[in-house]
Amino acid sequence: MSGESRFLGLFYLSPYIIGLLIFTALPFVASLYLSFTNYNLMNEPIFTGLANYIKLFTNDRTFRKSLWVTLVYVFTTVPLKLAFALFMAVILNYKLKFINVFRTAYYVPSILGGSIAIAVLWRYIFADVGLVNMGLNLIGFEPVNWFGDPTNALFTITLLRLWQFGSAMVIFLAALQSIDRTLYEAAAIDGAGRWTSFVYITLPLITPVIFFNLIMQMVQAFQEFNGPYIITQGGPLKSTYLLPLYIYDEAFKRFDMGYASAIAWVLFVIIMLLTLVAFWSSRHWVYYAGDKRN
């Protein structure tokens, strides 16, 4: 549109820019600096150059294990959760009686998010003699060692996060609401069934939001802390010792803030790279109706 100053956009961004300068930038840069120091919180940080990073890459088995576990976790949880949240959003998008009751019910796990009851409950459900195994038993399956077996424990955390699909679902739901109904009509006439119009109309039109959820779920998965913290504490055998847990332990259990910062910055770079890849790829699959016409 013409007539606007080139800087009008910056005016709308001003809260962000001010906030960035005052509240965000400094701690951000400070943590980067700290990653080059030895800092135990009680004393002034001591600059140690690349020492932290060298140790990290050459002499830290825990880091390697933790990074691997984190990657496995991210690459299983993100797709599963996205698919599940989208599936539920589509189902809950029907105009049914009491749909709002159902939606609320499905959001409950997310509301319970930080509640102390979660750890207790999750144990009830996935313990060796818990509900899930009782159920499996009923339909004739062997019970699964959900927490005790290092190969399963991580997936149990994944299940917890799947169960808390509410936020992603709500975002999908909001996106589904903004799709023009006539497009479904056109598709119906073109012979599309429910599934095909979902694939060809719904999915492409909510790609901006799928993309958003993808990025956010990825970021959140990379920063997953609460799940393993309250349920497995990283065990058994560090099989759920995700990097954020490691960072936290280094920072607030072992008080090596410098080293924690270094791990965090390595993690930052990894997420950044993946995010860049995602943004780059989005040009090919995300459709923005509201962007400039050319």
Partner: protein, 284 residues
């Protein structure tokens, strides 16, 4: 409607409801357990895994409400309110404006600024916590609610900004253009056209911010030290010690109370997802 259609329609409806209810129960299980347990006596809570209390008691609620502080739980609710309300309002306003700026305008350094926005999402905040604390100490904001909501009022929650940007970019510009021709400034177009069209997303933003702030434990823990300023998230964990016995049923009872506003708000926000204003509402 024909009888056959009626019947198959009813069948598919019944199936849908059954499915929804079945899965819904799975989702609700913890809440039901929680509510049940909050009426149990302490010794029963872990001995009896069922929902139904053997000797239902209101003890948890009565004693839990009193708390081990000079204040009742009501005070903590009010404190939470004083954090949540400004934070949600501030977030909604600032994030909408910033998202609008990103989605609808071209300006110098746009890419860089957007990258900075995303970048702030990516760094685990464990390692920025101390520097941030020192910052607020120097601002003299410790032991006040300011550190808890002021950054949000400056669009500090990149998550929401990014989310609104994505939604905005999916909304066609026609209506805004019409408004501009009608004499609206960009600001007015934002308020009168964009905001209503963005409502479902905006409601989600408010909802999330509300829930997350209600649940936020670490922020208040670090920044609030006076007991009379504690929000519920802190108050809930006030009596949980590793070695000392504590009254589970009080904790659970208060947890139930804490969840109620979130549930109510979510339930009420429903209609914005149902009657969401569709961006292409005109048919021929």
């Amino acid at each position: 409607m024909r009888a056959r259609e009626m019947r198959s329609h009813r069948l598919s409806m019944a199936f849908r409801y059954a499915l929804l209810a079945g899965v819904g129960l799975l989702m609700l299980y913890p809440l039901i357990w929680l509510i049940g347990a909050s009426f149990k006596t302490n010794s029963e809570i872990f001995a009896n895994p069922g929902f139904w209390p053997e000797n239902p008691t209101l003890d948890g609620y009565i004693k839990g409400w009193r708390t081990s502080t000079p204040y009742s739980f009501g005070t903590f609710f009010l404190n939470t309110l004083w954090i949540v309300v400004p934070k949600v309002i501030g977030t909604a306003i600032s994030c909408t404006a910033v998202a609008y700026g990103f989605a609808r305008f071209e300006f110098p350094f746009k890419k860089l600024l957007f990258a900075s926005l995303i970048a702030t999402l990516l760094l685990p905040n464990v390692v920025t916590r101390i520097p941030q604390y020192l910052l607020f100490r120097d601002l003299g904001w410790l032991d006040s609610f300011l550190p808890l909501w002021v950054p949000s009022a400056f669009a500090g929650d990149a998550f929401f900004v990014f989310m609104l940007v994505q939604f905005l970019r999916a909304i066609p510009r026609d209506m805004e253009e019409a408004a501009r021709v009608d004499g609206a400034t960009t600001w007015q177009a934002l308020i009168f056209i964009v905001v209503p069209l963005l409502m479902p997303a905006l409601i989600s933003v408010c909802l999330f911010q509300f829930m997350w702030t209600m649940n936020d434990f670490l922020g208040p823990l670090i920044y609030i030290s006076s007991v009379d300023k504690y929000p519920v998230s802190l108050a809930l964990k006030l009596s949980i010690d590793t070695t000392e016995a504590f009254e589970w049923n009080r904790v659970l009872a208060m947890s139930v109370l804490t969840l109620t506003p979130a549930l109510a708000v979510f339930f009420l926000a429903q209609k914005y997802f149902i009657d969401g204003i569709s961006s292409g509402g005109i048919k021929g």
